[in-house]
């Protein structure tokens, strides 16, 4: 293990950001990485618990966090990088965008500050790329089986890589121009610059994975074709159906789903949008974001960088407490007040707010009417009650709906394949196998919208299930 009592000797040293004024001027990442010496100290804080909750419940990928810390402490970066990759296909993604439930599950988070797990991962993978340690791992043998992966988000890519390494021929179909799905189009550049994805795609390509972009399965190629050409199909299209809001005025222009908005900015950056074809911009606008989650937060940062005039973010839930409340005790993900880097960059946040009506002129949105609500516990769940006399109006000319996602898009493939769905509208699976035996599904498609890290995990597990199934099928 690292250093006994290391956690007493060294304090957690959080990652610092570039100053706000500097970072909002562009879409670049703004973390200021720690020095290697600092990292060794941070790793030294790890207690190598007999029962590591970080690994046991925190990390969906079950990264070998204590072992990685140990290697870093011993200055054995290359082995750490190898070990990290045994459980995580894309640590460069997770180390940037993961909310790090490992850290809130760290036993030190009970009465101290947790290990700097996510940033250590970041350092390892960046060093791995810089040193050239991350190389293609071609399959040792070729099985002759072929798998089509539909959708190139984290789940699809993880599944693709695992299957390719197991010796299967893998083709990934992506309806957009670029590979990466949500990583490419959903996450703003200031959190994940797109060349980071390209760097990894090179490895995937070298491992023999074939990518077909701009091809929408079910539309550009038929499901019959896919089923004929491939031994197995894996659906990893994400949970694209956003939750909408059915209130008066919804039809006004400039009320759009957050993902469409973020997508526009991302397309701009990767150069997909030709001149003259404009995406929606927040520049000079009063922006209201409905939804207090991560996507909403990404909208805040994007709008800020697009030089919005004012930004409001509304959340229907009450403001969380500053410290870990009883209802989410350790090692659960705590329901506490958090301020993202984007929110820190400037926006007005309000909690316990419901939106009642959009007001506008002609088809343009001009304002939003809402009021405060109260949450009351009832025998069969929570009930919301509007508080009289709290009505308000916010002046706005752009409303972004960031209220989460419902499930996978039901049109297209899902419909063509007549796949069974679960109660929530996700594709129903049994160990990743859908009602159609040769069709598997993974990621948000089966779980509903969730974390990137869970999607990777899901893709890996689906790949294992597919591999077993292919071998059994003979």
């Amino acid at each position: 293990m690292p250093e006994l009592r290391g956690f007493l000797k060294y304090k957690r040293q959080a990652v610092k950001y570039r100053p706000i004024e500097e970072r909002i001027g562009n879409f670049k990442e703004f973390d200021l990485p720690l020095t290697p010496d600092d990292i060794a100290q941070q790793a030294a804080r790890c207690m190598d618990c007999g029962l590591p909750f970080c690994h046991g419940v925190g990390c969906p990928l079950k990264n070998y966090i204590p072992d990685i810390n140990d290697l870093i402490y011993k200055n054995r970066w290359q082995q750490a990088c190898e070990l990290l990759h045994t459980t995580n296909n894309f640590p460069e993604i997770t180390s940037r965008v993961c909310p790090a439930p490992c850290e809130t599950a760290c036993t030190l988070s009970i009465n101290d500050e947790p290990i700097l797990i996510r940033h250590i991962e970041y350092q390892i993978v960046e060093r791995g790329f810089a040193e050239g340690w991350i190389k293609p791992v071609p399959a040792a043998k070729i099985t002759g089986k072929q798998v089509a992966i539909i959708g190139s988000g984290p789940a699809g890519l993880a599944a693709a890589q695992q299957l390719a390494r197991a010796g299967h021929k893998v083709v990934v179909y992506e309806k957009d121009e670029h590979i990466g799905g949500i990583m490419c189009y959903g996450i703003p550049d200031f959190k994940l610059e797109k060349h980071i994805i390209d760097r990894r795609l090179k490895q995937l390509t070298d491992e023999g994975i074939e990518f077909q972009t701009g091809v929408e399965a079910g539309k550009d190629i038929s499901i019959q074709y896919l089923q004929k050409m491939f031994d197995c199909i894996c659906l990893t299209m994400g949970a694209g159906q956003p939750r909408d809001i059915a209130i008066p005025g919804r039809e006004y222009e400039n009320i759009l789903p957050a993902m469409d908005y973020l997508r526009g900015q991302n397309k701009l950056i990767v150069g997909e949008l030709a001149n003259g074809f404009e995406s929606v911009t927040a520049k000079g606008k009063n922006v209201v974001i409905i939804g207090g989650g991560d996507t909403g937060s990404d909208c805040v940062g994007t709008a800020r960088r697009q030089e919005a005039k004012e930004i409001h973010q509304l959340e229907i839930l009450p403001k969380p407490p500053e410290t870990r409340p009883q209802d989410t005790p350790w090692p659960n993900w705590p329901r506490i007040m958090r301020t993202s880097s984007s929110q820190e960059e400037g926006c007005e946040r309000r909690w316990s707010i419901t939106t009642k009506k959009f007001v506008g002129e002609r088809n343009q949105i001009k304002g939003l009417r809402g009021c405060e609500v109260e949450w009351m516990k009832k025998p069969n769940g929570w009930e919301i009650r509007e508080l009289t006399g709290t009505d308000f109006v916010i002046k706005t000319d752009l409303v972004l709906l960031a209220m989460g996602f419902l499930h996978v898009m039901h049109n297209g493939l899902i419909k063509d394949l007549h796949l069974q769905l679960d109660g929530a509208g996700n594709v129903a699976v049994n160990n990743y196998q859908t009602s159609e035996p040769s069709v598997f599904a993974a990621g948000d498609t089966v779980s509903g919208a969730s974390l990137v890290v869970r999607a990777i995990n899901s893709g890996r597990e689906a790949a294992a299930a597919i591999d077993r199934w292919l071998i059994q099928k003979g």
């Binding site: 007493l8 618990c49 909750f53 005790p329």
Partner: protein
């Protein structure tokens, strides 16, 4: 009548211990008085025996003496036949069946055998008996007893004795063969022309009442051996009473199964001129069903009859230690080494008295852990016995007093009429043949002295693949191999083992993991392999064994191995040996996996392996190397343990095992446990080639510290394995690898009968389980992981997860879900969270962890839950584990104590004492006083005040995580606070010895129980044992020893620090031990008077109910209570680095402690509520109605698990017959046995005076039966006056005579015990401030300082007070003394062992191993010969002369005191010539202690304290 094996009870686990004695007229004059003396000895050893459940059936007593010719001449005349002259006829004492017909058949066979050997029966005599004195149990088993008189027809001396022997063995054999079980009562007690034995199932007095013969004045003998047995059971067996034909034995042969196998293997080679062609009549040499002592007697008799002298044979079987640390003659060393090539020691604690009718002697084993004292009178009488004072002689009549010393012999030759000293006997025997030259010319050695082992460089291409094939894990590399290579010792861990048993695991487990090490508890002591390592040895010989009845130079033509680990270079050297008389053959041990029936493939490979071994032997091989180097894509290794055991037992079965040594060359073994198992099942040596390669690979990868030499790595690793093997042997009380070899001291959990009966013959496996096909499947899984995937590096190995939790690793019962749910439940009083927690543990339908996970309740008629006993009552049955303040912090310890006191349960001090301020209740009514106070081997903090404040006194014999081992609290953990509690010095290491040095046997335990009941008559006494096969019989012994409760701990209990291999591989689940205990107690009708408690990974109400049904009244929770107060299983207790302030003494970390008593209370109530729910469902209203109801348990049906489906729990659920209404749960209290204690008289006489603190002097006589004088008195004093007791000099008690054991135990301040005479063992045990004076009587001819006046193990755990001993003491004077001042005039071995404080002055001779493990205190030793340093264990101490003025003054003062109290002539002589004498004293001071003292002195001079002493002492050295 005999009791058959049933349920978990197995007769082979019966133990006994005893009192022994011998008396002889040195000149050989025969007289009836010798018999009378024998009787007196026995009667005065009564307390060393035990009575059965009926309180009148003894465990056995007997007497062996010379044939009383005058008596028999008269009797024969009366009966109408004539006897020839003395020595011309033999006498047999025959036990026979009560069934006349059977008896007749047996008689005929016996007569036939006698005639066959050319002798005839002259007549016979029914032995008159008076059975009205017998208890019902003995009576039911009473045989018919008669004597036969055999005419030798001119045979004389040895030839006559030999024929009688042959005739007896032939008759025994024929009876067995012809009558089978019907002949079981036929037993020839003795048949000799020299000696005769009377014995039976008696208490001492009954022997003489039963046999009127013994009172006849014509019954005369010059010598007699007597024996009183204390057995752990009360099943009657007259045949196992002692003495046997040659010996009486107090002790236990731990290595019996190995010795048995070896003897069997040797039979094929046995020839003896004297036996001629009839030798087959002698086989089997060992009478089936015989006890360890009986087997020993069988072999001794064989060796003697074949021509060796009795001392010679004894020296072969119980050799003294002859390691390099002993100064013994070269010839004697050669004698022992030579004999070690032909006979392994019969190892175990032994005090043995023996006679062949002419010689009579006694000997102790090398450890000397059984007492034996002797004296010689001016009338030429010698008396030897387990205790001094068994016969009273006036002081002026005694001309010599002594004790048997470890490994030494005391012999009287009644023909020569003299005592022969140990030296004389042994030098004569050792020089009768040129053993030294034979050895030099014949033994084969592997390497010179200076060769150091090399690491073989690994093949990086294949190493990962091969590691997979042998099941290596990443965790093993990090947690086991690396520490071994770096530190040269096994890694330490903490907390319990919460992973599934191998048979319940989904993972392919190595076959090693299905076995658990056995360990010694109560009936024999474990050894300290570190501090007493000088008695231990790993040396052995491998090769061809020859006729044991003969001695030739070729006998030692074998490979001599200093230890059993061979490097890869060694094995190559061996393989290249090309000699006609020493051939080495390698046989591959792999099997084909490219087949459809893998199990069959494995079976066939094993068969051909054994065949190949046999033909190699027949071709003359001396060594067989079984190798799995040939693994490949199609060949998997046969599990090395399976290969070893198969070949060992295969060759044994084919009667050729003695022809060759077996060497295992395998990639599989790497941990200590693996090597122990291989040796234990027959390997002579092991080459773990892959382990060496792996170390090289780790070195190459930079996992090991840079700059470590490869040879150093190999050396360290081998050293770690060696230490580990020694430790494992020592747990069982075994000193030499030669006797550990093939002794099979393991229990299998989850291996089926077929497998055991074919490959592991004789091994224990009680619940069946997997067989060859599952083993093959596990091998195949490993093989696949190696060869069916793209192996690129070490990261492709499984993580393992046996020690630390990892996803995809082994399952743990304490996992993120259970820990967090339990914490949520207790913190937020959330019953739902508790329910989820309990479900996650109880519901083992998906994942199996424990045996009880496979149990089901038999449904019953439910009752409304309101009618079920309230939870508030149930929690009173709950206890917390014995976690010491030291292993956990003050905050955690007190938190638990407060909680348990609030709910009326019991918390436990653990082994660390307790702050007396906790005895005072808090203002709010809470109390931090632990109800249970533990007494462990270190006796830390055990004072009379501590004992007096307990509700229960718990003797910790063993601990689930490390049974059979001691502990060590390193100096850096001994903070000021801990030091205060333990009466020691901050910064000074504290060592807990492996055994209690006052419990080497069951009667010793009874003595300690007696001591404790005297020291606190109001407290109950419990004894903590750990589950292993045979624990039931030990529990029965504990019940007979008068304990009120027995605690059965599971193997999986927690620890603050233990070697990982101990946590994992020792002990069994409590389900087995508890069920066995319940069954055995019920069968013995002892259950009604003793409570039973169970603990070990006890977590839920379901666990409690199951334990209750298996027989437990009470329940202990350790880790679960810790989790409730914040523990998250960091497993850092051993590092003291607990981030939650629990397992730590660090001030900073302790501040983080956030536990609250409410959490523990809530946990206990949640458990109790769960218990109630189950009770309601099953229809129990009262908790006690569930106790012992194993009939309400069954095994889950339709178990799908591929391994677990073979299990069979019927033995666990077995219930003994209770149709006679005997109790299956507690019904009464133990009888009060302390009523006869002398203290009650003392209190009567002096009570009032004491209460008024009035100066009082009382004089009284004393006998050895007056035990534990002063303890009850001291209890009275501290209850009244607190720990300060009375002012010095208030009470003076003067005794004359021989005091019994534990004289002055726990003596309180203000009391002086003055004993004029002598005393037995344990004087001043736990001395708590009083003064003990032992004075040699004035009118004796003895030189006080040359004679033994007090016994062994004195001042054990003394914390304060003084002792002045005017004579010599035995072994272990002032052991673990932490504060007493003592002056003595001579001591035996191991003086000042484990001492942590106090001052000892020795004014005379010392034995060896002085100051072993001594970490504190000071000793001054008079070293007139200037040889003291050769006797002192210098590991921890420094020697200096006494030059400092303060030292001189202190020493002078103490000697003056000694003179004042005892009138010692030695003291007077020294003081008279003080200037000359002071220079001859040596001061012994522990290195750390000196530093600590200097630090403390420096602190006194400083105004403010800056650094705690602890840190400076410890960190200065690092």
């Amino acid at each position: 009548m005999s009791v058959k094996n049933q349920g978990l009870y197995d007769v082979q686990w019966e133990h006994d211990a005893c009192g022994i004695g011998a008396v002889v007229d040195i000149a050989g004059k025969r007289d009836h008085s010798i018999i009378e003396y024998g009787k007196e000895i026995l009667l005065n050893l009564h307390h060393r025996g035990a009575a059965g459940a009926d309180e009148t059936t003894g465990d056995g007593a007997g007497i062996l003496f010379q044939i009383p010719h005058e008596f028999f001449a008269a009797e024969s005349q009366r009966l109408g036949f004539a006897l020839p002259a003395p020595s011309q006829y033999g006498v047999g004492v025959i036990f026979g069946s009560k069934d006349g017909q059977i008896r007749e058949q047996c008689d005929k066979i016996l007569e036939g055998a006698i005639i066959y050997y050319g002798m005839k029966i002259l007549g016979q005599r029914d032995v008159p008996v008076s059975n009205s004195c017998l208890g019902p149990i003995a009576l039911a088993a009473e045989p018919s007893i008669k004597q036969i008189f055999v005419d030798g027809d001119g045979l004389a001396d040895e030839m006559f004795e030999c024929r009688l022997y042959l005739a007896r063995k032939r008759a025994e054999k024929l009876v067995r063969e012809n009558l089978g079980d019907n002949g079981r009562d036929f037993y020839v007690t003795s048949l000799s022309h020299k000696t005769i034995c009377y014995k039976g199932m008696f208490m001492a007095w009954q022997l003489f009442a039963y046999y009127p013969d013994l009172a006849n004045p014509l019954v005369k003998s010059a010598l007699a051996i007597v024996h009183q047995r204390y057995s752990t059971n009360t099943f009657p067996n007259w045949q196992l009473a002692q003495p046997f034909r040659c010996i009486a034995h107090n002790g236990e042969i731990n290595t019996l199964s190995g010795n048995r196998n070896h003897i069997r293997a040797r039979e094929v080679k046995m020839t003896g001129e004297i036996f001629g062609d009839n030798i087959s009549d002698l086989f089997p040499v060992l009478t089936p069903g015989g006890s360890d002592s009986a087997c020993f007697d069988n072999v001794l008799e064989l060796l003697v009859r074949a021509g060796r002298s009795m001392p010679h044979a004894i020296m072969m079987m119980i050799p003294e230690a002859f390691g390099a640390k002993y100064h013994i003659s070269t010839d004697k060393r050669a004698f022992y080494e030579y004999h070690s090539s032909i006979m392994e020691p019969w190892d175990g604690p032994a005090a043995m008295v023996f006679t062949d009718g002419r010689l009579i002697g006694g000997t102790l084993d090398r450890n000397g852990l059984r007492p034996c004292r002797y004296l010689v009178t001016t009338d030429g009488l010698a008396v030897m016995a387990s205790e001094a004072g068994v016969i009273e002689f006036p002081p002026e009549k005694i001309c010599m007093k002594g004790r048997l010393q470890p490994g030494k012999m005391f012999l009287v030759d009644t023909v020569e009429g003299r005592i022969i000293t140990d030296n004389e006997i042994k030098s004569k025997v050792a020089r009768q043949k040129p053993y030294r030259r034979w050895l030099e010319e014949n033994r084969i050695e592997l390497r010179g002295l200076f060769d150091s082992p090399e690491l073989v460089s690994s093949d990086p291409e294949t190493i990962a693949q091969r590691m997979c094939a042998f099941g290596y894990t990443r965790e093993e590399l990090k947690m086991v191999l690396t520490p071994m290579a770096v530190n040269g010792q096994e890694p330490i861990g903490s907390m319990g083992d919460d992973t599934p048993l191998a048979v319940l695991s989904d993972k392919p487990k190595l076959l090693f993991n299905y076995f658990k090490q056995l360990f010694a508890q109560v009936t024999n002591p474990s050894i300290d392999p570190l501090r007493e390592g000088l008695v231990m040895s790993l040396m052995s010989f491998a090769g061809k064994k020859r006729n044991i009845l003969d001695e030739t130079p070729q006998h030692c033509r074998q490979l001599k191995l200093p230890h059993p680990i061979l490097t890869s270079a060694d094995i190559e050297r061996l393989r290249s040996v090309k000699r006609s008389d020493f051939k080495v053959v390698t046989i591959p041990a792999v099997f084909d996996v490219n087949v459809s029936d893998i199990a069959d493939s494995l079976r066939r490979s094993l068969d051909s392996l054994v065949d190949a071994a046999e033909s190699a032997v027949k071709d003359g091989a001396s060594l067989i190397i079984i190798s799995d180097r040939d693994i490949s894509a199609t060949k998997a290794p046969i599990p090395s343990l399976l290969a070893t055991a198969a070949v060992h037992h295969g060759l044994l079965g084919r009667r050729v095992r003695g022809e060759a040594g077996i060497i295992i060359e395998s990639g599989e073994p790497r941990e200590v446990m693996h090597f122990c198992l291989l040796c234990g099942f027959g390997a002579n040596a092991i080459n773990p080639y892959l382990a060496f390669e792996v170390l090289d690979e780790l070195h190459r990868q930079g996992e090991l510290p840079a700059g470590m030499e490869p040879s150093r790595i190999a050396d360290n690793y081998i050293a770690a394995v060696k230490k580990g093997i020694l430790k494992t042997m020592s747990k069982m009380g075994i000193s030499t690898l030669r006797s550990y070899h093939s002794a099979q001291l393991f229990e299998a959990i989850g291996l089926n009968r077929d497998l055991i009966d074919k490959y592991f013959i004789g091994a224990n496996s009680r619940i069946s389980g997997i067989g060859l096909s599952e083993i093959a499947r596990e091998s195949l899984a490993r093989h696949k992981s190696a060869f069916d995937k793209n192996v690129t590096g070490l990261l492709d190995l499984d993580f393992g997860g046996d020690y630390h939790f990892r996803h995809n690793g082994e399952q743990h019962l304490w996992n993120p879900t259970t820990v967090s749910k339990l914490q949520h439940a207790v913190m937020f009083e959330d019953a739902n969270a508790y329910a989820e927690y309990a479900k996650a543990i109880n519901d083992q339908t998906q994942k199996l962890y424990t045996l009880r996970g496979l149990f089901e309740f038999v449904p019953g008629q439910p009752v409304p839950i309101e009618e079920v006993e309230p939870a508030g009552e149930i929690v009173k049955r709950f206890c917390t584990g014995a976690m010491s303040h030291g292993s956990i912090s003050k905050e955690a310890h007190e938190c638990i104590a407060v909680a348990m006191n609030r709910i009326g349960g019991m918390s436990n001090t653990g082994e660390g004492g307790e702050d007396p301020s906790r005895y005072v209740p808090l203002p709010n009514g809470d109390s931090k006083n632990c109800a249970i106070k533990q007494i462990a081997s270190g006796r830390f903090g055990v004072t009379i005040h501590y004992l007096a404040n307990a509700k229960e006194l718990q003797i910790k014999i063993a601990q689930g995580a490390k049974p059979g081992e001691g502990g060590q609290l390193p100096g850096h953990k001994v903070t000021d606070e801990i030091a205060k509690l333990r009466y020691s010095t901050p910064g000074v290491t504290l060592i807990s010895p492996p055994p209690h040095h006052d419990i080497y046997s069951i009667e010793d335990l009874a003595q300690l129980i007696y001591d404790l009941k005297c020291a606190n008559p109001d407290a109950k006494v419990s004894v903590k044992l750990v589950s292993e096969v045979g624990v039931g019989t030990i529990a029965a012994g504990v019940a007979k020893g008068n304990a009120d409760e027995v605690l059965i701990s599971g193997h999986d209990g927690g620890t603050g620090a233990s070697p990982l291999s101990s946590i994992k591989h020792t002990g069994c689940p409590w389900e087995l031990g508890l069920a066995e205990t319940q069954q055995t107690l019920v069968m013995n009708n002892l259950r009604g008077r003793i409570k039973v408690q169970a603990d070990g990974q006890m977590k839920t109400g379901r666990d409690v109910v199951i334990a209750a049904m298996l027989g437990a009244d009470r329940f202990g929770f350790g880790t679960a209570a810790l989790v409730a107060i914040g523990c998250t299983l960091l497993r850092k207790c051993h590092e003291g680095a607990c981030a939650f302030g629990i397992g730590t003494q660090d001030i900073e970390l302790r501040k983080r402690f956030a536990g609250r008593p409410e959490y523990v209370e809530r946990f206990m109530f949640f458990v109790a509520e769960e218990v109630r729910q189950i009770m309601a469902k099953l229809g129990f209203r009262k908790f006690e109605d569930m106790v012992g109801r194993a009939d309400r348990l069954s095994m889950r049906k339709a178990i799908e698990h591929w391994k677990a489906k073979g299990l069979d729990f019927s033995v666990i659920f077995h219930q003994p017959d209770v149709s006679d209404g005997r109790a299956i749960r507690l019904t009464c209290l133990q009888p009060v046995r302390t009523k006869d204690n002398l203290d009650w008289q003392l209190l009567e006489k002096a009570g009032a005076a004491i209460d008024e603190k009035k100066k009082t002097v009382i004089e009284m006589p004393i006998r050895n039966i007056n035990r534990t004088v002063g303890a009850a008195l001291s209890h009275h004093i501290v209850r009244k006056f607190g720990p300060e007791g009375l002012p010095d000099g208030t009470l003076e008690l003067i005794f004359r005579g021989s005091a019994g054991q534990s004289f002055g135990a726990f003596l309180a301040p203000g009391v002086t015990l003055k004993l004029i005479g002598e005393s037995n063992d344990y004087l001043g045990k736990g001395l708590s401030g009083g003064r003990i004076v032992v004075k040699t009587p004035d009118n004796t001819p003895l030189m006080a300082h040359e004679n033994i006046i007090v016994g062994n193990t004195l001042l054990y755990g003394a914390t304060a007070g003084e002792a002045f001993v005017n004579g010599m003491a035995g072994e272990r004077f002032a052991v673990r003394n932490s504060g007493a001042i003592a002056v003595v005039e001579g001591v035996g071995d191991h003086c000042c062992e484990y001492m942590t404080g106090g001052t000892v002055v020795v004014l005379g001779k010392t034995g060896c191993n002085f100051a072993a493990g001594m970490s504190g205190g000071i000793a001054y030793v008079l070293d007139e010969m200037q040889l003291f340093d050769t006797l002192c264990n210098l590991d921890m101490v420094e020697l200096e002369s006494v030059w400092h003025q303060k030292d001189k003054e202190l020493l002078h003062n103490l000697i003056e005191q000694h003179l004042k109290w005892t009138g010692s002539k030695q003291a007077a002589r020294i003081l008279d010539t003080w200037q000359d004498m002071v220079g001859k004293f040596v001061k012994v001071i522990p290195t750390d202690y000196r530093k600590a003292l200097q630090k403390m002195r420096a602190d006194e001079q400083r105004d403010t304290e800056t650094t705690p002493a602890t840190e400076e002492v410890f960190y200065a050295g690092t």
